[in-house]
Amino acid sequence: MSGSLLFQSLVLGVLLGGLNALLAAGLTLYFGVMRVVMIAHSAFLILAAYLAWYFNQQTGLDPLLSLFVTVPLFFVVGIGMQRLLITRLRPATLTMMSVLLTFAIALFIEGMIGFVWSGTQRRIQLPYSGSNIEFFGARIAVVKLIAFGLAAVSLALLYVILKKSRFGQALRATIQHPEAAKLVGVKTDRIAGLGFGLGLATAAVGGTALSLDATIYPSLHWHWIGPLMAIIVVGGLGSIPGTAIAAMVLGIGQSLLQVEIGTTWAQTLFYVALFGTLMLRPQGFFGGRLAQRF
């Protein structure tokens, strides 16, 4: 592998890792506040991509503008999902049953997308779709850069909300110790709902970013959920920094391997990392003291 090719795939890996980190952060939020593994996360991701495509198709405007609709919409849907569906499950079997429930939601979304927009592959054509930027000899597609920028801004925003705001403090308290948070006056039920909404909003951002340079079809979400779940286990369930690091490392690794052994085999890296983590450190590599119990 030549030096420039190596650098090129390294840069692409960072760009991919950024998007992965944002999406996995959403998964971590659900798990943190409710101990729920949200299988439907990537289905909402694809739904957001389809909405961006449809918006572009109908109005001819830039798909990025659809964010102003999808982000608030997904936020409200997330709150509704937590309040109306997840809380109805029995606490004792919540973790297992919520997996099945969100799996059902994922199937529902996949089926409805296929029903409404048919199973045909879709792609957004933009005036800047084909343009590239030279960056120290590496050629980077503008759309990939925009996607990464979107992911980076959202992650930074998420970080500021969690670290600086009062709501973020309450949310982190709920993640760390729900009972103690309740004792000091945090309304954990409401906070959990908002956390769910926040997580789903990341799916809206990620989906719009994805729609810029990917061909989308209804069953695409299965290709996303596996790697994302591998990332949150490797990073340690419930730890957002761990998730971000794992997403970056695995994203770069996948991008480097892609050149050598092809796309399909490179994707197995996520699963190899998953099984390796379980064998060596079942609680994940970064923090995540919750993982083994749930």
Partner: protein, 386 residues
Amino acid sequence: MRNASDTETVQRGPKDPKAPKAGAEGPAAPRGGWLTLGRGIRLVAFVACAALILSFPEMAPNPYVLSAGVVVASYACTATAWNFMGGFTGYISLGHAAFFGLGAYGTGLLIRDLSMPSFLAWLVAGAIVVLIAIPVGIAALRVRGASFVIVSISFVLILLLVSQAWKGFTGGSNGLVVPRPFPDMLRPEHHRVFFYLFVALLAAMLLVWWLIDRSRFGTGLKAVREDEDKAQALGVPTRNYKLVAYLISAFFTGLAGGMYALWFGDLDPIFQFSILLGSYMVLMALLGGVRHLYGPLLGAVIVGSALEYFKLEFGDTQLHLVATAVLLGIVVLFTPDGLIPAARDLVRRFGPQDSSIREITAAELLERNREAAGDTPEGDPKEEER
């Protein structure tokens, strides 16, 4: 004062352990007449159901219905095989399609490459599935709950990737053609033979389930389901028990997959290693009731028939996904214990009231404690009892 309180505990002593014992034997145990009546009804129902199932190929009006019956029988096999893990230990695996696909591909490849006799290849493939399941099971069972589900899904996704990418060995997306075991048999006759083979496999599974249910091993597994930490503290070798249950489950799922390969004769990675198939197993078992011998069978008959009907009515549209999703959602939200317990509760409501303590699960107990705690501002049920 001391003496008084002493006698009180002595008086209480023998009473307390007795009560749960009576409950464990089942509410019907003390009443002789009710017991024999119940047993008689059960025997008649069993014979009637068995006769109905065995005479199905004769009653099927056309070969299409017969082939749909074979599909439902294969679903019943996979759901029952899944229940060895899901029902006994409470570990919900969404990835059992992996073992189904491995059994199917193993059988096909052994016949194609080593030209083994069909049914020998079928058994060997089952053994290979167990060998593959050992390391996977050891890795997966290091974690609980959600992480276990993640691992199980990942395993299917890996196998899907590998079977699609490794074109030289598995045929990739072109699929793999499995030679039929009875080459000179006509289609309807072929369906009929395989219907009976699937039913025989199912009967073997039900027998093993019944035996485990009664054994010490089965009791240990159920202890893991109710409270794994307590079971471990009481000396149940939880890890080995779980692993053995996982292997039994994988073995039978693999056999069901191999049988499917021999019957259908054409394998495609997308259909063999599909998460959807794994979710059907979970849905069927949950719908019927995972704690019951016939639960997965009942669920398979309902869901399998519905799926076949949907395929016939709506063909290629994605609506069958929506229907599956809605059904799964309803089951998870409203009858997570399944139809058999729900029906039994309904029957019990009209039957004689039982006064003994009923067997309750840890989940129900926790639920009840939580409800009791919800009434008091303190939120600690133990405080309330004192």
